[in-house]
Symmetry: C2
């Protein structure tokens, strides 16, 4: 039986996302399992739609089971994000294939890139690429070009190819039995205007931030659009500006050492962040003051939110598989997973029973949600403790 | 030469405050020196008007010199507030008399209360007063009643008498040569409606919070009212609601141990605060959930702000006398103080030259101001680093 796994954010879920799930079915998958980010996303931001509503969207639009990718992996570098996602799917014991979109769609080329990045030759080629203030990603691409030529190396300039390569590397590193398959992304790219009935999630988030919910709904499957409308009516779509002063307050009380402890805080970046926090008037000022060619904005945004959330390093191993949503097929999968001894977690309050690592990670997740909800406009939706009281969406 | 000292908050400065300064002049004072709270006040709140503007009001309405009572003393119990204020005035070396308003106006009775509170008999009388959930202040009043009778003990039920008694105790404990004099407060009491042309500062703050600046100005000397209007026009009057989510975010990330380290966090209160922070939706909910007969609201408010500001214990000794405002007479006093070796600080950035304790306290004060300004409505007025760039108001 073929079960397809997808690593995703779905913030919000649009027609392109639904199309990828349909591709899995078309290729014969008997079930689709998603590993989905929680309330904070890889770009270093508040999810516009909270994780339970996004999981509900997923199940309404083609998924059978949605498991959470905890924040310590989800709001991280592409490498760590990919490793966490692959680990979630692999630890289910039931997912057989990882399916992902990529700009290239050429599995052989993506695999050559992944192999190259893991090769010993790369270290030497990287040493030869000058330290000229560019991002690490740009220098790495140059090193791959020296080894594989420009046609392969250019793949690494696109975000979904980069993630794809990290998925392949994670599968190998984790010695996962997952097979990998890619589908070429068509339609709008990240941040671009809509095209051919498809819009990127970042474009939809811009519409949501501008209050244009109905305009965003045009590019979403009807079932997902309905959930979006319900969340908006309940005052549950986030407005990160509501937390701007809260984040600034935290940054202004941090010492350089607090910055250094964060992921990516080394390399002198902690000094830049400390100075920026003590000069920037707004959050945008702080990010702009800390930014250099070497440190892309998404990395700085993640650091700022990690500081606010007091996010620790991820544990060595994923301590639980947290269920966010499931339908009947998903529930059957959960039974199989439980029978095989997988650490399935439906009620967050049960984390302690899975051991101290699970309890510690759930405490972090609960703190993340306690702060996340402060970005909701309706004060009645901002109360603490929602994480531990939440239950999966069962269809 | 008689120099009168006054311990004050002036948030905002009203006609009653100006009247007390006039009383000092009428009694022959050649100068008036104020020890004034900074940006956070004894009630556990954001000052509506920032400290430099309040110091300017003071000098415009009868003071010659305004020195800062640093936040670690200012936002504290009556006892610590009084000790800090007396220490500021005493360390000037030029102030000869402490003048304060009290509901009683009877110095002999206030002195009997102060003596009683410092007597060994009190310990025994307190032990006899039952631990029945009342505040410490109420139990103490009962003990004083057992020793001095009801006529004296009832004084301790009024806030300005209580402060007066703490001033007298602080003078003795610090072996200060200051003489003490009280003037009977007439007109509106704390929190009451205006009466006889006088309104309490808390009543004026209610008007300011409701946007009724002109209504508040009626009860202020014209010079102070002008400064208030200027601050409002510049978007510098605070609206604490702008920091509510920031404070909630901090409270939600605190562990019980973080609460315990705070002043007043012992006695099991830290558990109550931790639980309240994890159940209350709004800040009012959190305070209400933690409140008991034993813990008055002002104490809980101070704890919450101290947590947000990460306020340490005060140092053993006042490390500097920070000048907030002065006129010509005040500048002469400052010269005499400097000549006598007092640690006068005009530019905050010079704190380091006064030693590590001064530098550490100024860092705390700077952090307090970095967070305080986030409660201003105009984003352009919310930038960090304002404390270290500020200069005293010189008239």
């Amino acid at each position: 039986m073929s079960v397809t796994g997808i690593i995703c954010e779905y913030d919000p879920l649009h027609t392109g996302h639904a199309w990828l799930m349909a591709q899995a079915r078309a290729a014969g998958a008997s079930a689709v399992v998603c590993a989905m980010s929680g309330n904070f996303t890889q770009r270093g931001g508040f999810a516009a739609v909270d994780k339970l509503a996004r999981a509900e969207m997923a199940v309404a639009c083609g998924a059978d089971l949605v498991l959470e990718l905890p924040t310590v992996w989800a709001m991280s570098t592409a490498e760590r994000f990919a490793r966490g996602g692959v680990e979630v799917l692999m630890r289910t014991g039931v997912v057989t294939e990882l399916l992902f979109g990529s700009e290239s769609g050429d599995m052989a080329a993506l695999t050559r890139c992944a192999d190259c990045l893991d090769s010993e030759d790369l270290t030497a080629a990287l040493a030869a690429a000058p330290e000229d203030g560019r991002t690490f990603a740009a220098r790495r691409q140059q090193a791959v070009e020296a080894l594989l030529g420009p046609a392969d190396a250019v793949l690494l300039a696109s975000p979904n190819n980069t993630l794809a390569v990290e998925y392949l590397r994670a599968i190998r590193r984790l010695k996962s039995p997952l097979t990998a398959r890619t589908v070429r992304r068509t339609g709008a790219q990240h941040g671009e205007a809509p095209c051919g009935g498809f819009a990127s999630a970042s474009y939809l988030r811009q519409l949501l931030a501008a209050g244009e919910t109905e305009q965003a709904a045009v590019y979403m499957p009807p079932a997902a659009a309905d959930i979006l409308r319900r969340q908006r009516a309940a005052g549950r779509l986030t407005d990160p500006r509501l937390c701007e002063r809260a984040i600034l307050a935290r940054l202004r009380t941090m010492e350089p050492e607090d910055w250094r402890r964060l992921d990516g805080g080394g390399e002198g970046l902690y000094r830049r962040m400390y100075r920026a926090a003590h000069t920037g008037v707004t959050l945008a000022d702080v990010l702009e003051a800390a930014r250099t060619k070497r440190y892309p904005l998404a990395r700085l945004r993640r650091m700022v939110l990690a500081a606010w959330l007091d996010l620790p390093e991820p544990p060595e191993e994923l301590p639980y598989l947290r269920v966010l949503a499931a339908n009947g097929v998903g529930r059957q999968l959960l039974r199989r997973m439980r029978d095989a001894g997988a650490p399935v977690l439906t009620k967050p309050a049960d984390a302690a029973a899975l051991g101290p690592a699970a309890q510690a990670l759930m405490a972090v997740e609960s703190r993340c949600t306690d702060l996340y909800v402060l970005a909701r406009p309706d004060p009645a939706q901002t109360g603490p403790g929602q994480e531990l009281r939440s239950v999966p969406v069962m269809r």
